[in-house]
Structures are given as C-alpha cells and as structure tokens.
Subunit: 400 residues, 4 copies
C-alpha cells in the first residue's frame, strides 16, 4: 500500500497544472465572452481551437486513452489525477480532448468498433476534428431503469430503421458534433438484458432532428448543449451496429466504468477549486469586525470541505486502481460508490463556497453557480444516486 503518485504521474500533473495556469484559466472569461458575442450561441469559440492546438503540441492530448492500437495510454489510476486537474475548469477537459461524452464514446469505438468504424469516427474524434453525443435517455420513461427504454431499431435488409425520441444527448449543440452512439431495442422479446443494442447514427442522416436544446438551471451550456432529438424512420447501414445485436447493456457496462470515474475525478477538481476560491475570498472579506476567515462557522466549512474532498479522492483513486488491477466488473461496487460520493461532495463544497461568497456566489462573476448546476446533473446522469445505492446494498447483502 502506497499513497504517493508515481514520478510519471507527478510529472504529468505538473505539466497539466502549468498548462491550466498558463493557458486555460486565463481564457475562461475569453471563452465565455466569445460564446456571448457570437451570432449564434451554437458556435465554437475560436479560443477553444487555439487552446487545443497548444495542448496537442505539448503532448497533453488524449491522455484518457487506455493502451490500444491507437497509442500506449495511461492506466485509470494514472489518468485520474490528471482528469481532476482538467476538471477544475469547465473548459478544461475539451482543451485536452478529454471531455465527455467523447471520451466514453472513443473508448467504445476502441473496444467494440470495427476497423471501418474506427477509421471513420474514432480517428477524427481522436484528432479533435469532430465531436459526438450519446443518445440513451428518453423523456417518456424513467430511464434510470434502462430496461424501460423504448427506442426501436428494426432491421430491414441491409439497414436498420430507427425510431425514437431521446433527450439529454449532451454535446449535440456543437456544430462539430457529427455522430451519435444510439441505444435502443433490436429485440423486445429477448432476455431482459439482451434486448438493447448500440448503433452509430450520423447526425446528418435524414430523419434525425434536434428538436430543442435543454437548459440546466437556466444555463444552455452553449455551444455544447443538451439535445432533445427525434429519430423518425432513420436508416443506417447494418454495418453501423456496435459489436453485435443485443450487446447494448454489455457495452454500456464497459463504457460507463471509465466514464464515471472521469466524471468523479473532474467533480473532485471542481470541489478543490471551489474550496480554493472560498479560502481566498474569506481571507479578504471583513464582516462584524473580523475577516470571514476568523469566524468559527466558516472554519468548520473549510475543514468539512477538506475532509470530504480527501476522502472522495481516495475512494476514486482506489476504484481506478481496482479497475486497472481486477477489472471493471469486480470494481463495480467501488465505481457505484464514487458515482454517488463525488458529485455530492462537490455540491456540498460548492454550496458552502456560494454561501461564503454571498450574492456574488450565485452570479457568474465566479464559476461557483455554474459548477453547482453542472454537478447537480451528475446526481442524475448515468443513473440517480438511489439506483447506485441500491446496487451497492444488493452486493453487500450478497457478500455476507
């Protein structure tokens, strides 16, 4: 047992931290301004592509990618602390081509894609030329229970015909978003976890219509955005299927492990940044005759935040370690645990920071409110807390 990062990781942490300080943080306001001033909100701010080019040339690119034909990647344990640092800024992960949902989608293509699929979609994704979305959740059913999903994928000759209404296809607002990994039922009569398949649907296929972009607590998250998309008699070649029919759940299982751990590490970065901002603020604001930093309640908040962050980080790192050593399947209890812990810790730390900032905290002068809204969605995305807790309990009950 050893709680120190390896030299390799520490070197990367240093590089990513310096890049954040030199390139990313200073451009947060620039990015927001470019979005605000663009003719359409669904335009990519120029500064993003500039930052991406710098990251690429610095070799800080696709670090999330596990070892594969596409490069010798990092382990989850090695990548996790880097994802944390990137996650400290809402524009950070994309700069390094490490942002959701692309990372998860790229992993699916690496693991389950055919050579042809990889050339067509994976390569441009890895190059940061296009982006992607993931279409699973549906407005009409409680999608926390994935067996509820109603999307239909019917084979007709050499094509699949797709009909569905999906929402929360995050990233669909981005003009660079070209492809969706779509989940739906190919065989409603198969065994419960073999009814679903995943299939590649290019967004320019006839019948695909982005109905609207969904707001999150008033934020539209432009140009990324969360799309509600209808698929009406959409036809794609059978070669677009991922792995094979009926493997939707199996792929989801594989996809969600790393995806979740990335989200968790980013959440810890968010919490860490919120704590840092709070500490800075309370040193400089005076009320009732002394700095906020000298007031007992504020100190308890700082301590509780530090305690919660440290614990969440350790558990996430342990989950990453287990994914690397015993596999995602054996690590599923640990993955479920961090999926619950990390967003909740971030939300609590953010809420304390907002309270310490006063009204400034709910505005956009500081990133706290926006980070809060985003973290709040993570208690729902990939399944609500309660579903994961139920899964943890089932395993505990089975283990003893």
């Amino acid at each position: 047992m050893n709680f120190e990062y390896s030299d390799k990781v520490n070197k990367l942490r240093k590089q990513v931290t310096e890049f954040m300080e030199e390139v990313v943080y200073p451009n947060e306001k620039v990015y927001e301004q470019q979005v605000r001033e663009a003719e359409s909100r669904w335009t990519v701010p120029a500064v993003m592509e500039e930052m991406k080019a710098k990251a690429k040339s610095a070799g800080l690119w696709n670090l999330f990618l596990p070892e594969s034909d596409y490069g010798a990647g990092l382990t989850n344990l090695e990548y996790a602390p880097l994802a944390e640092i990137m996650g400290r800024s809402h524009i950070g992960p994309e700069v390094f081509n490490c942002s959701a949902p692309d990372t998860g989608n790229m992993e699916v293509l690496v693991r389950y894609g055919t050579k042809e699929q990889q050339e067509k979609w994976l390569v441009p994704l890895l190059n940061g030329e296009i982006r992607s979305c993931f279409s699973m959740t549906e407005p009409d059913v409680a999608s926390s229970d994935a067996t509820n999903i109603q999307a239909s994928i019917v084979r007709e000759g050499d094509e699949y015909v797709i009909n569905a209404r999906k929402w929360w296809s995050s990233g669909a607002g981005d003009p660079r978003c070209k492809i969706s990994i779509f989940m739906g039922k190919t065989d409603p009569n198969a065994a419960r976890h073999e009814q679903q398949s995943m299939i590649l649907v290019p967004l320019d296929t006839p019948g695909v219509k982005i109905e609207r972009m969904l707001p999150v607590f008033g934020y539209d998250h432009a140009p990324h955005g969360h799309g509600e998309i209808t698929f009406t008699d959409v036809r794609v070649p059978v070669s677009n299927i991922l792995w094979e029919e009926g493997k939707g759940f199996a792929i989801a299982q594989g996809r969600l492990g790393p995806g979740r751990i990335h989200h968790c590490m980013r959440s810890i970065g968010v919490a860490e940044r919120a704590l840092e901002l709070m500490v800075k603020r309370v040193k400089n604001r005076v009320a009732f005759g002394k700095p906020l930093a000298d007031q007992g309640v504020i100190r308890q908040w700082i301590a509780e935040s530090r305690i919660e962050i440290e614990q969440a980080r350790l558990l996430t790192l342990k989950a990453a370690f287990m994914m690397d050593t015993v596999g995602n399947k054996v690590a599923k209890k640990e993955i479920a645990m961090i999926k619950v812990v990390a967003p909740n810790v971030a939300l609590r730390v953010l809420d304390r920071a907002i309270q310490a900032f006063g009204a400034a905290g709910v505005s956009d002068d500081f990133p706290l409110a926006a980070m809060w809204a985003n973290a709040r969605t993570l208690r729902l995305a990939d399944g609500p807390d309660e579903v994961h807790k139920n899964a943890i309990a089932k395993q505990e009950l089975a283990d003893q």
Copy 2:
C-alpha cells in the same frame, strides 16, 4: 390557541386559489414564451398586464397592505396564507400587486413617506403603474454586515449628492421601474446605527447608470432582473430623504419584518407546489417494476417534505401573529427563525423533487429548477442564514 384560519381568511384563500387556477397557472408558459420571443428580454409581457387587470377587478389587489390611509388592509396573519398561495407561481405575486421589492417599498412609503412622496411614488405603485427597486447591497464589501456599506450621501444646499456602486437591485431591469429606495451614509461619524439614511432616487436622474443585469444560476429573471447600478454625483432634492437623516437602520428594521415574512410564505408556497408536483410525478413513473410512489426512499422524501413544510408554515404564521400582536421588534427572534427556515425547507423539498423527476427536474419543462435557483438566493438576501442564526443565539443567551 387555535390553528384554524378565520372564515374571512378561508374565503380569501378560496378566491386567490381559484384565481391562480383559472388565470395564473395557465399563463405561466404564455408569460415565459412572451419573454422569450420579445425583441428585448427587458420588456413586460402583455399577459402580465392582462392578468393584473383581472386581479384588480376581482378585488384581489394590494392585499399585503396593512391598515393605513390607503385602505383597510389585512393583518400579517391574514395575509400570510394568501402570500403562500400567490408564491406557488413565480409570476403569481406580481399579478396581485404583491411582489417584492415593491411591497416592502410601499410599506416604507406608507409608514415614513411624506404626503408629497406618497402622491408621487406610492400611488402609482399601489396602482401597479410603476415598479421600484431597493439599492442597499454593494459589491465591494460584505454587505451581510450593513455597517460596511460605503455609499455616500452628502448634503449640498437643497440637494443630496449621491455616489455609490450598488448591486442586486432587484427589479431594476423592468422598464416600468422608476424609483429606487437607496441606502447610504449621510454621516460616517455618527453612532454606528445612525450613519445611514434612506433616500428616494428616481432612476432617470442623471448619473444613475445600470451597468449590467446579474444572472442567478443562469437565469436572468427578465424582465425583472437584478441590476448592478452606479450612482455618480447623482443629485436629488433634500425632500427625497425618507423620515430623516440617520434613520436608515430604523427604516430597514421596519421594512424587513414584513418583507421577510412575505418571502417566507412564498417559499412555503413554492415548497408546497414542489411536493405536489413530486407526488403527481411519482404516481405515474415506473422503474424496476413498480411506480416510484411505491419505493421506500421516495416515500421517505414525501413524508419528510410534508413534515418540514407543516412546521415551517406554523412557525411563519406564529411570527406573523406576533408581529400583529406584540410588534415587529418583539417578534424579531421569530422573524429571524423563519428567515432561516423557510428558504431551506423549500430548497430541500425542491431538491428531492428534482431528484424524483430525474433529468427533467433540472430543465425548464417543470418549474423546479427555476424555483430552486430563486430559493437559493433567499439564503443570502436580507442577510445570510449564519447572521440570522447568530442573532437568534445572542437573544437566547441574553434571555436566560
């Protein structure tokens, strides 16, 4: 002791409830659409004036107003349950000319305004012809400690010269907003609570500049809005002072009592509506083989929400009763308590409802996310929770 509403109140509750059902709720989406489609977001949607006209002709107008020359009003205890019902919709209070910050401002004018001030500003406010804002908080200091406020009001002959930067002047975005009640220091050398004064500043006075509208978690709250306003050598006649120099704190004390209780009752209305929406939703969504309504955790949430709402309502009503019978000053501990309780209860109920709704809960398909963001500001507005708790404790320590 008696826990039943009087017949008079029950009749009014019925009337307001029916008006909400017939006029207000069905127009929520209309209102939002008109805001969205207006050329400028800072335009009053036509539907609002239509609804106001209906409320006025139904006699459901200015119900907040206590007994005065301007009409025999309701007691706080009588008005509280009506504010709750109005507060169930974010567009409700304005329809009845009972929305913040106008109600607090009108009360100030009723109590402390000269005849001339009342004719010029109070009458059009009572008629719903103009709106107002309240300029107290400043970006540069921790305004939770009101003695920190730095705005300067200097007498020069028959005028006061005003210089300040204020923010969170809510309502300043509305084109009908004509007047600000402004708080600043007339005498920085006076005793600590006699340095401040309140003064009327028409928003069209030269030197008044709305610098920007502040967002709240991504919402701009248009057309109401929260203004950051600079006052540069703004000159108003000495007759604009309220009461007299040095009475700023005394007026604030009087103003904030009713203002707070109104906010609290509205928050309870919000919580009540969130619970209602949650109950409706969980009956109709099925996951893992049974309706959400039959799942143990959801039931605990419903019960906890009901328990918290009932308690918050009773405490708020008791505070209202005390304000009516022993006065705002004696009731200050109770007012402080509900100021802490009501927004927190609303936030907890809303958070549970959002979680039960899944991703729909964070969007604008339902009013939950918007209500949450609004309720979150109430833990800061008129002083953060911690300041009120400190005041409660001080009194407890003194009482024993």
Copy 3:
C-alpha cells in the same frame, strides 16, 4: 388562528412550573441516590411518594385525563404544554400521576373498560396506588408490523389461556406494577386487523414470569424498568377482555394517539431543558481565550436548537388541537408527523448539548446522557420513524 395559550392554561403552566422548581428538580439527585442506595434497585424511592402526595394535594394530579366520569379533564391542547413542563425531568411525569405507560392504560380503561374493570384497576391507578405495563412487542418478530405478533389468547370455557414471550413491557420492574394490558391473537384466521385482542393480565397470575429487565444504553431505568416477560398457560377470566375479541387494533389506534402526543410534548420539554443547560454552560466555560458562548459554532447550535424546538412544539400543539376538534382518526397524519419529529429534535439538541459540555456531557453529572438514551428509544417505541413516514407518504399520495 391564535398562538397564545389560554388564561386557564397559562395559570396551570405557572403552577406546574413552580411545582417543578420547588419540588421536582431539587429532588432529582435525591431520587437517584435513593435508587442507588436501596438494597434492591427495584424499590420505589420514598421521595417519589412524598412528591406525589404534594402534587395531589396541590390539585396537580391526573391532568392528562380527558373529560369522563372520572373527572372533567383537560383537552389535549390544554394538557400538552403541561406535559412538556413535566417532561423536563425524568421523574416529573410520575409525580403528577401522568407518566407512561399508565396514562395510556388509564385512557384505555376509561374508554373501553367495564365498570368492574374500572373499579378494580382504573381507580387505584388514578389514585397512584398501583402502576401498570403494556405488553405488546415481542422479541421473536419485527413488531413494527403489529400483524407479526404471535402471542396466543385461546378461550377455554370461562377463561382465556395466554401464551407468549413479550419484551419492553416498560414499568414492569416497579414493585407497584400490578396489571398488564396484554395484546395477542384470539383469532389467527380473522381479517388482518381483527385477529388481535387486548386483555387484562394481573402480574401475579400463575404463569407470568419476568425473565429479566432490559437495559437501555447501559441504564436499567430502575425501578421502572423494561421487562421481558413470559406468559405460560396463563389463565384469566373472560371478563378480563377489553371491549371485545378482535378489537386489539381498534383500541391500539385509540390508545396510541394521546400516548404519542404526551411522549412528544415530554420530548420537547427534554429538548428545552437541554438547550437551557447548554446556554448556561457555554456562558461559563472559557476556551481559547473566550467563553464558548462567543464562539460561532456554538451559536449556530443554539440557534438551530431553538428553531427546531419551536417548530416541533407548534406541530405538536396543532396535532393536539386537531385531536380535540376533528378526532384522532382525522388527525392521524399529524400524530404520525410529531411522532417522527419530536424525538429526533430532542436527540439533536441533546447531542449538541453533550458536545458543548465535553466529557461531562456523557456522564451522569448532568441529565443529558440519560435523556439522550431515553429519547433514542422513542424513535423505535410505538413504531420506528420509517413506518410512520411511510404512513404519512401513503396519505399524501392518496390525498392528491
């Protein structure tokens, strides 16, 4: 709506408070010493009978008793604030002949007892000559679901033959305890809520054996105590049945309403006393250069305690008001709510007080630890929190 106690109630509150101050509080340590020094712990301390005589002659006796042939009593709303005051001391309620489980048992006898049963058991209970216990819970089943109960009551001629193992028959340790109200199944084949009956079982009947007294967090609660009792072929005359066969649930329903509200009011008295002790302590202890009372965290605790107590008291009083005006059945949601709220509030206030007292708080130098242990049982007694919350939710779901 009116939040003031009536003059009648205020007069009684004053009397009970003075009696507590003059007679009860000063004798708490005397009582404990007499228990400690008695040859057997299951002996009634002499000071208790002395205090009872004083309360009786002061007319502060059986105040819990509703209007009946046995005296014109108080309403629940009138009695509630008196129960609160008595409940501030663990020896208080008995002094006024208002302690559990006797009050609930006396109410059962008033409502459902035959003339003969009343003369034999109710009169001496009302006189404070004997005490009683209630035998419902069983060690072998989850008694939170009362249909699980397995005790058998079989009619044989003019007798019922009783067999069961019961525990948590509180009060069974007291040498004055002569009678148990016993619940068991007379007809396992009847409809689910008509299988059970209640019957009077004198504790000196052959076959009744107190197996042991159960501790509560290390306290034996002597001489009251919590008995585990076996009933082996115990024979009682058929005239001992209460009301009639199959009415066990119906009686329990009637019994538990007032019983619960009494417990709740006492819990609020406990919380109030804990807060009082905490406030006193923190004024007088200095750490890190200032009194604990001047430290921010302590102040938050005081404020939160005051807020929680006020709300719990109001809800309990409202439940009492509803029991008086619309009946226990209609008030059942409110009764369930306070059953959850009051013990939890007491526990939180006590926990804060213990923390503020430091190590002294967990000892018996102050009543905090003992009050905590007792309050903790109330989250389980008469059904755990979760069962009551489930019932509240069911009603909410049905109401909308």
Copy 4:
C-alpha cells in the same frame, strides 16, 4: 500508488481474524458474565488473562509497538488494519496487549523514558502484567484547550509535589492499573506551550485518591472504568519526570498521533461490525410482507454505511502512511481529519444498525448500544471535533 495490503500485512490480518473468531468473539458474553457475577465490578475477569496468554503464545502481542529496543515493530500502516480487526470487539484490543491508554503510554515510555523508568514501568506493561492510565483532563476547566489545565507540579528538593483534580483517567478502575502519566504545570510563567510537564505517578503514592468512577451513558465500563482522581500533596522523586520539565506539550503531540490513529482504526472496526450485524439482521426479519433487506430505506442505509466506512478507512490508512513516511508533524492535518471522521462514521453506522434492529438495538443483547456509547466519547476525547476542524481550517488558510 497502490491500494493493496502487503503480503506481510495480509498474513497478519488473517491470523488476527482467526484469533478473533476462535478466541475473542466466543468469549464476549463470558467476559460480560464474569464481570456481572464478580463480587466487585472492579475485578479482572479470569477469561481475559486466559485469552491474553493465548495471544502471547501465538505471537500476536504488542503489535502496536514501533521499531525500538523493545522489538522490531510494525509501521503505522501495517498496524492499522490489525487495530481495525481487534477493535471489532470491545474486549479485543486488550487481548493482544494493544489497548488504550496503555499503547499510548508505552510509546511515551519507549520514546522519552529513562532506562530506569522503562525497566520499572515499560517492561511490565509490555508483558501485560500491569496497566496504566493517563491523567490530563480536569473537571474544572474546558480541557479542550489544554492551556487551561491547572494541575500544579512544584519542585521541592528531590521531589515534585503534585496537586490536582483530574477526571476521565480511563483504566483507573482496573486493579492492575499501577501507574499514571500525569500532566500538569511546572512553570505557569513559561511560554504558553512550555508550562506543562508530564510525570510518572504510581497510583499507590500517598495523596492519590480515586474519588469515583464516571459512567458513560449508563455504562461503567468495569473493570476498566473512568476515574475521577484527586492528587493532594502527592510527592514523587524528580527522576519521575518524563523527558524534562516543560515538555508536556511536546510529548502530548508525539503521543497523540499514534493514539488517535489506533482509536480511528478501532472505530472503523466497530463500524464494520455494526454493518455486518445489520446486514445479517435485515435478511432475517420480515415486516409488511417482505424482509427488511428488500426495503428501500434499509438498502440506502447499507449503501451509505459502506460508502462512509470505505472512505474513512482509506483516509486513516493514508494518515498512517504519512506518519510513517513524512512524520507525525507533517501528517497532523491528516491525523486531525481522521480524528473527526472515524468516530462520526462509526456513530452513523451504529445508529442505522440500531434503528434496523428495533428495540433490540438499544439493549445489551447486541453490542450496538454499548459500541455507540463508546464511540460517542471519541468525539470528545483528545479534543472535540470542533477543535480539530478549527485546526484543519487554520492549516488550509495558511497553505493557500
């Protein structure tokens, strides 16, 4: 970074686990019975010495001891998981000669004792022949601020004269307890952290009087016990001083690090056992038609318990790792964090388990209530949570 225990540790974990299962758990009830049936409660149950002999001959003895002249010990990181397993039973640690306060005291003697002091006191402690107590806390002052301590140690020739009233000298009830490490002021005029000294006071010295044994939530913890001790003109030779005059704080610093981590690991063992008991119970109890294990709320409790335990354990292990690698001083923030976390996690898990057990949970049929009472003291012992949180915050504020 690596989250697996070393082979050495895993072997020891297996040995200790097996010993617990074969020797310790089966004797818990025997131990309690021997205490209950002894003439005096302050008698050592025979079974304890039998178990100690077995542990000693199995080589599972003094495992806490770091490398020193007295044996090549384990690192904190190696010992921590063993302390966890021992801590699962309240009689466990003593069996392995690893119980508080002896372990902390032995460490002080190893580090700061003279050869003579070690021969006289350390050797018999290491042999398990005698026991010891630690006399620091005083009833008359808030001892959470150690500078408040008033005990006086005055040099007169070759002796120190000691006067003080101490309490919570844990272990003083044990007839084998022969020696106290006593903290008091040798120089009230020295710099704030150099006024205090530690000195060895044999309990049979004239003037030492155990006034009483303090209960903890009704438990007397016999025969260990918590003593209130007066020291009246107690004279000990100057050679009894530890290290030298004025080093009290420095020794405390060194003593408390390992002592705290041991307490924390034991607390995690307690939480782990509580969870295990809860899981077992809910599988076997049926209410409302299904096992408790199938009810949503119970599952949330199990999951939350598992999540909290895992995080607390990881943070504690990390603190241990830091103590081993960078020293107690640098690790002080981590030590403070686990001091707050571990007892609170244990309390929450225990409280859930008690609630799941129903009334059985508050009795002594299961170890839950006793473990709860003990864990509750750990939020106060060695400084209350709030003091540690304050220290953590101070460091955060300084670090940024």
